[in-house]
C-alpha cells in the first residue's frame, strides 16, 4: 500500500531552484534513504513533507484513513540540527511533545518513560537538556518524533553530526525502528544508507537522478569487471583473454588485468575453465562489486 506519493514537487527560494520537479512514492514498512551531496535539496524536500515549507508546485499525498486528519499527526520529524528547550528536562520535553501530539494525558507519561528507556537515555531523563551530549540530544530527538506512533518517521541527516560511537548507536536504533515504522531519512554518507535502507532516492541538484529498491539498483549498476593477476607472462595471458568470446576489452594497470565483460556469470565460467585447462599461474581472481559511490557517480554523470 502506498504510504506517500509525491508528484512534481518543486521549490524555489526566491529565484533559486532548490528542488526541481521531483516525483516518488513508497510503501509502508520501507526504509528509504534520500541520498545526495550537501545542497542537493534533501532538507528542503523533507521540510516540505513535514509541512514546514510550502511547495512552489506539486503535491504530497499521504495515505490516510480520514482525509480531515492533520497530516502532521501521521508523521514524526527530526530536523538536522534539532534544538530543544534547554531549561526542560528530557522527560519534560518528551511529555510536552506527546501532549502536543494529542496523546491522552493518562498515557503520555507512561509512554514517555518507556520510550526514554528504549532510546537509552532514561538515566538522564530528569536532567536538563542543556547538559546533554550530541548523541543524547539526537536520541531524544528520535524519541519526540515517534512518541505519537507516526506512520512515517522522517530523519534529516540523523547521524552525520555524531561521533563514531553516537553514530553506531543511532544506526542500531534505526535498524530496530525499521520493524515498526516507515522511515525516510536523508544522508550524504553512502555507507549509512547502505547499512539500513531498503530503498534509495538519489538526489542531485534538486532532481532525482535514480530511485529504486537497493537490490535492483545494485544489479542495474553492477560493474561488469573482473580483475586478474598473474605470477608472470602477463602480456601473453592478456592476449589469450582478449580472444575469449565473453570478454569485451582488457586493460592493464600495475600488473592487474581489468577485464570488462558483458555477463559476469558467462565470463567467470569461460575464464576459469581456460585457466584450469591451461594451468594459468593466477594469483588473484576477483569480481568487482558496485559500491554505492560508483552507483552514485554513474547516476549523476549519466
Amino acid at each position: 500500500m502506498t504510504l506517500l506519493a509525491v508528484n512534481n514537487l518543486t521549490k524555489y527560494y526566491g529565484k533559486t531552484l532548490a528542488v526541481n520537479n521531483i516525483s516518488f512514492e513508497f510503501e509502508s514498512g520501507r526504509c528509504v534513504a534520500l541520498i545526495g551531496p550537501n545542497g542537493a535539496g534533501k532538507t528542503t524536500t523533507l521540510q516540505m513533507l513535514a509541512g514546514l515549507l510550502k511547495p512552489t508546485e506539486g503535491t504530497i499525498q499521504f495515505q490516510q484513513d480520514n482525509k480531515k486528519d492533520d497530516i502532521r499527526s501521521l508523521i514524526g520529524y527530526l530536523p538536522q540540527f534539532p534544538a530543544f528547550y534547554p531549561w526542560m528536562t528530557g522527560r519534560e520535553f518528551l511529555i510536552y511533545s506527546g501532549k502536543l501530539s494529542k496523546i491522552p494525558a493518562s498515557e503520555v507519561e507512561k509512554r514517555a518513560d518507556k520510550l526514554l528507556e528504549r532510546v537509552g537515555i532514561s538515566e538522564a531523563k530528569n536532567r536538563r537538556i542543556s547538559t546533554y551530549s550530541g548523541g543524547m540530544k539526537q536520541r531524544l530527538g528520535i524519541a519526540q518524533a515517534i512518541i505519537h506512533r507516526p506512520k512515517l518517521l522522517m530523519l534529516d541527516e540523523p547521524v552525520s553530526a555524531l561521533d563514531p560511537l553516537g553514530r553506531r548507536e543511532v544506526l542500531t536504533l534505526m535498524e530496530e525502528l525499521k520493524n515498526d515504522l516507515t522511515i525516510l531519512f536523508s544522508t550524504h554518507i553512502l555507507s549509512d544508507a547502505d547499512e539500513v535502507s531498503d530503498e534509495l532516492l538519489l538526489l542531485h541538484q534538486g532532481e532525482i537522478v535514480e530511485a529504486g529498491p537497493m537490490d535492483e539498483l545494485r544489479t542495474k549498476y553492477q560493474t561488469t569487471t573482473i580483475e586478474l593477476s598473474f605470477e608472470n607472462n602477463l602480456e601473453a595471458y592478456v592476449a589469450k583473454l582478449e580472444q575469449l568470446s565473453s570478454v569485451v576489452k582488457t586493460s592493464v594497470d600495475k600488473n592487474i588485468v581489468h577485464v570488462t565483460v558483458d555477463s559476469i556469470e558467462e565470463a567467470r565460467q569461460e575464464i576459469l575453465t581456460n585457466a584450469l585447462e591451461e594451468k594459468w599461474p593466477l594469483t588473484d581472481f576477483s569480481v568487482n562489486r558496485a559500491s554505492l559511490e560508483d552507483m552514485f557517480m554513474k547516476a549523476v554523470n549519466g
Binding site: L53, Y77, A83, Y85, Y96, S97, L100
Partner: protein, 258 residues
Amino acid sequence: MEWITLFNKEMLEHWRNFKWIWVPLVLILLAIMDPITTYYLPVILENVGGLPEGAMFEIPELLPVEALMMSLAQLSSLGVLVIVLMSMGTIAGERKSGVAELILVKPIRYLNYITAKWSALLLIVWVSLTLALSTSWYYINLLFGELSFTDLLLTIFFYGLWFSFVITLVIFFSVISRSPGLVAAFTIITTIAMSIITSLFGKHLTWSPSNMSGHIEYAIVSQELTKDLMMTGLITLILIGILIVGAQQIFIRKEQIN
C-alpha cells in the same frame, strides 16, 4: 487542552528563568522611584549641599494624582522598555534557535501557539503592573495624600490595556522577524512613532492609545469615567484584536523556517 499545554509550558519557562520574580520587582521599583525621590528631594538637596546658607529651595507641594502620573511616566518609558526586552524572544527566539521546527510539526493550531505565548506574557505584565501601581498607591497615600482605591483600579485597568497593546506589538513583530533584537527595536520605534504622531495630530487622534496616561489623569482629577478614556480603551482593545488576528494570518501564510 492543547492551548493549556502550550500555556503551561510558557508559565513554567517564565518561572524557571525567574521572570515571575524580577519583572514585578523591577516595575515596582520604577513605579515608586520618582514619587519617593521627589518627596525626599528637599532633604537630599539640603544634605548634598550646594545650596547657599539660608536659601530655601521651595518645591511645590505635589498632588497625589501628580505623583501617580510620575509613576506612569516611568512605566511608560523604562517600564515599556523592560516589558519589551523581557518578551522579545518569546516567538522570535524559538524560531531562531530552531526549537520551533520541532514544535510546529506537531499537529497544533498556530493560533493556539501564538495566543498561549501572548496570554502568558499578559499575565506576567498584568500581575506585575497591579503590584507596581498598588505599591505606588500605598506610598502616595503615605507621602502625598489620599488617592481613592477606585482611582487605583481605574489606573490599573486602563494602563494595563496600554501595556497589553505593547506586548501585542511584540507578538506581532515576532511573527515577522526572527531576530529578538529587531522585534524589540520595531516595537519601541512603533510606540515612539505613535506618540509623535499623536502629539502632532492631537486634535484628530484624541483616542490614540498613546494618550492613555493623559486620559487617566483627567478622569482621576474630574472624578468621572470620561468618554475619552473609555473610547481610548476601546480603540486600544480593537487594535490589540487586529494585531493578534494579523499575526496569526501572517504566521499561517509565512513559512515557519528559513
